[in-house]
């Protein structure tokens, strides 16, 4: 057995799916944010796999950008969470429905 791009992409797909499940089923916003990190990591695995496939570093560079993006997203997301927690004393996504019709 050899390890090819297919296996990498398969791992990526698994991580992405698990992340999706996390986003959709958990109530805790913190866990949702972690799940989003999982999805972003799945993307990075794919990028690195294809970078290896085609023998170019562009994919890895893109991966770096995604990491920076993830950092920004986490920073803003957690700040939002803190602001929200201060106002409503909850970290549950389904209790945040102020925008409901």
């Amino acid at each position: 057995m050899t390890i090819g791009t297919t296996q990498y992409v398969l791992v990526g797909a698994l991580l992405a799916a698990i992340g999706c499940v996390g986003v959709l089923t958990r109530r805790n916003v913190l866990v949702i944010l972690m799940s989003i990190e999982l999805i972003l990591n799945a993307v990075n695995i794919n990028l690195v796999a294809f970078s290896r496939q085609w023998g170019q570093v562009h994919g890895q560079i893109f991966g770096l950008f995604i990491m920076a993006d993830a950092a920004a997203e986490v920073a803003v997301g957690l700040a939002l969470l803190i602001a929200l927690f201060r106002n409503k004393a909850t970290v549950h996504a389904d209790e945040m429905d102020l925008l409901k019709w």
């Binding site: 959709l24 389904d94 945040m96 409901k100 019709w101």
Partner: protein, 661 residues
């Protein structure tokens, strides 16, 4: 030409001030408001000064600048109707711009002291700056439509400032009265503008002038249009029959009365006449109307001013009278003389109002002449300035009022000795009531009482006396601007205005006219001294002898009562009875019949309405949309994860589509 090219900055400076105050007024400190709102007129004044200096060297002394097309839809295929935002600076508007910014600056400065202890400080200055912006727009506009914008804008500011103390009932009603009467006039103005647009196809002043000089204008239409314009002017410039708002406008703070209701806004009518003087000269009937209204108003208002007891109302009727004199000048074709009187009047009337404000300030809000007197000891500067201004308005040489009024009298003499006689008597009355005001306020026994006996009335702070002194100085020497040739002068103002307004030749024997006028003024001054200082019981005795006439005059000709009776109480109760019978017999029967028919039709329509329109169409549709909306409503849960779920579904659909393609 750095100043001319940026001429738009002149109105923009006060606009910026007004905007900043309007947006952030509360956040400014008093000092900040003062700096901003006095600095802006100062900047505008200096900028205008620079622009006028450059204008001197311009060939033709005319500078027109179109900033942008305001109403492009008013542009026909072949030519523009000129409804642009454009500025026109020529000798005529230059005089007014300098006057408005200069006097405006001084009155802003005065207000700093006058309003120091009032609430709404920033509101006052914001409105004052806004007024300057609209006034400058009015003066600098290169077309009638933009001028109308300024015209309405100053009216609005006048409304806001008359009602400045809006907690006072009389101030509110006075503001509303001014606004409504101005609306009556403005309707005529707008109709006139539209008619002129129809006649000339343009509202631009320069284009209209060209059209008028090139070929003969239709006299009938021009007469109608100018009459309509003059109708508007009688509203804004407080002429018969629309002048009744100006005396009540004195409810506003005194600096407002000085700036808006004496020096600048009310003279907008004279400016408009000068600006469109070619039109008016093409319509001799209108000119006759203007002269007659001006002469009549001036005589009447002067007589009314003689019996007023409120110091500011005396000055208000005096303003109406002086404006009438200016219109008389315009009506006989002496536009330059009229404009000259606008300038000198702005100087001395501003002094009179500001001095009156200073007196009111010193007496804790007292405005009744019968409770003043003997103030010369306590207010030496105010007394001196008021004295100079009184001499100026009375026409004592060589002060400013003498020179300008003499030119008007001379022009009136040339037109008709009757007009001269009317304005001559007006001048005498003017001297009489002004000396009455001056003597009753500052001389004779003191009839006032301060709130605390130990506290004496005292002179106002420097920010109030300095503008007063400057304006008094201008009233003293302002006549030099237009010193007539018969007295060895060159009439530089008329020379400066010559490219726009033709010079009026001086009457033969003008020296004689002058002498007669001066003699009358001096006699009136003497009479005032005798009647109001030596024998103060005389006026009361005369008033008792003709009580009805006295009351009529005191109420300003009872025009207010007439308007109330005619317009406010529904066109008369006397005719009501006869009308009622006609109403019962004819009108009501017709109404009843048509009512019955309507009822029948309505019942049919109602059935249709209830069952078909409402039932099937409106309610049916509404129910249908509710029915559709219910399930969709579930999707709109407001929850993050529902939306994420929908996103995943969307992504799945997308993938499915991709796979099945």
């Amino acid at each position: 030409m750095p100043f001319l090219d940026t001429l738009w900055l002149v109105p923009l400076f006060p606009a910026c001030g007004a905007f900043l105050i309007g947006m952030l007024g509360r956040r400014f400190s008093r000092r900040g408001v003062t700096t901003l709102c006095v600095g802006m007129p100062l900047a505008a004044f200096l900028w205008a000064l620079g622009a006028v200096r450059e204008l001197q060297h311009l060939p033709g002394r005319q500078f027109e600048q179109v900033l942008f097309a305001w109403l492009p839809s008013l542009t026909a295929a072949s030519h523009s109707m000129g409804a642009d935002v454009g500025l026109l600076l020529d000798p005529l508007s230059a005089v007014l711009v300098l006057l408005v910014t200069g006097v405006g600056l001084l009155i802003h400065l005065y207000s700093v002291g006058y309003m120091a202890r009032e609430g709404g400080y920033y509101r006052f200055f914001g409105c004052l700056n806004l007024f300057l912006f609209f006034m400058l727009t009015l003066v600098l506009a290169n077309n009638l439509l933009l001028l109308f914008v300024g015209w309405e804008g100053v009216g609005m500011c006048s409304y806001l400032l008359i009602g400045f103390w809006f907690k006072k009932h009389t101030a509110r009603t006075a503001a509303m009265k001014a606004f409504l009467l101005n609306r009556v006039g403005d309707a005529g103005f707008l109709l006139g503008v539209l008619l002129l647009l129809r006649v000339f196809g343009t509202v631009r002043f320069t284009a209209m002038t060209q059209a008028l000089t090139r070929h003969a204008a239709p006299v009938g239409l021009i007469t109608a249009a100018t009459l309509l314009l003059f109708w508007g002017v009688t509203g804004k410039s407080a002429q018969f029959p629309l002048f009744v708002w100006l005396p009540d406008a004195m409810e506003g703070p005194t600096p407002v009365s000085a700036l808006i209701h004496a020096a600048t806004m009310v003279t907008a009518g004279i400016y408009l006449l000068c600006r469109t003087h070619l039109l008016f000269q093409a319509a001799p009937h209108t000119m006759a109307v203007v002269a007659a209204v001006g002469a009549g108003t001036s005589l009447f208002a002067a007589a009314v001013a003689l019996v007023q007891t409120d110091i500011k109302r005396v000055l208000a009727f005096s303003t109406i009278s002086q404006l009438g004199t200016m219109f008389l000048a315009c009506g006989v074709g002496a536009f330059a003389a009229g404009l000259f009187h606008v300038v000198t009047h702005a100087f001395f009337k501003a002094v009179l109002f500001l001095g009156a404000g200073s007196v009111i300030h010193a007496l804790d809000g007292e405005q009744d002449l019968s409770r003043m007197g003997g103030l010369a000891r306590f207010l030496p500067i105010t007394t001196g300035c008021m004295g100079v201004a009184t001499l100026a308005i009375a026409g004592i040489p060589p002060l400013a009022g003498f020179v300008s009024k003499d030119q008007i009298l001379s022009a009136a003499w040339q037109a008709s000795p009757w007009l001269w006689a009317v304005s001559w008597i007006t001048a005498g009355l003017t001297a009489l009531y002004m000396f009455r005001l001056y003597l009753l306020t500052f001389h004779g026994p003191a009839r006032w009482a301060t709130r605390h006996p130990a506290q004496q009335p005292h002179e106002a702070p420097g920010s109030m006396t300095v503008p007063l002194l400057i304006l008094a100085g201008l009233s003293l020497v302002g006549g030099g601007l237009g010193w007539p040739a018969s007295l060895g002068g060159a009439n530089r103002l008329a020379g400066w205005l010559a490219p726009v307004l033709a010079r009026t030749p001086e009457a033969a024997g003008s020296m004689g006219l002058m002498a007669v006028a001066v003699l009358l003024a001096m006699a009136a001054a003497g009479l005032a001294w005798v009647v109001y200082i030596r024998h103060p019981q005389l006026p009361r005795r005369w008033a008792a002898r003709w009580p009805r006439f006295n009351y009529w005059l005191h109420e300003g000709g009872e025009l207010d009562a007439a308007y109330t009776a005619v317009f406010a109480r529904g066109l008369g109760k006397g005719g009501g009875a006869r009308l009622a019978r006609f109403d019962d017999a004819v009108v009501d029967r017709t109404v009843d019949l048509s009512g019955a028919v309507t009822r029948l039709a309505a019942q049919l329509a109602a059935w249709w309405d209830v069952w078909v329109v409402d039932g099937l169409w409106i309610n049916g549709l509404a129910k249908l949309s509710v029915l559709i909306a219910r399930p969709l409503l579930l999707l709109q849960s407001g929850r993050l994860q529902t939306y994420a779920l929908l996103m995943v579904f969307g992504l799945g659909t997308f993938l499915l589509f991709y796979l099945l393609r």
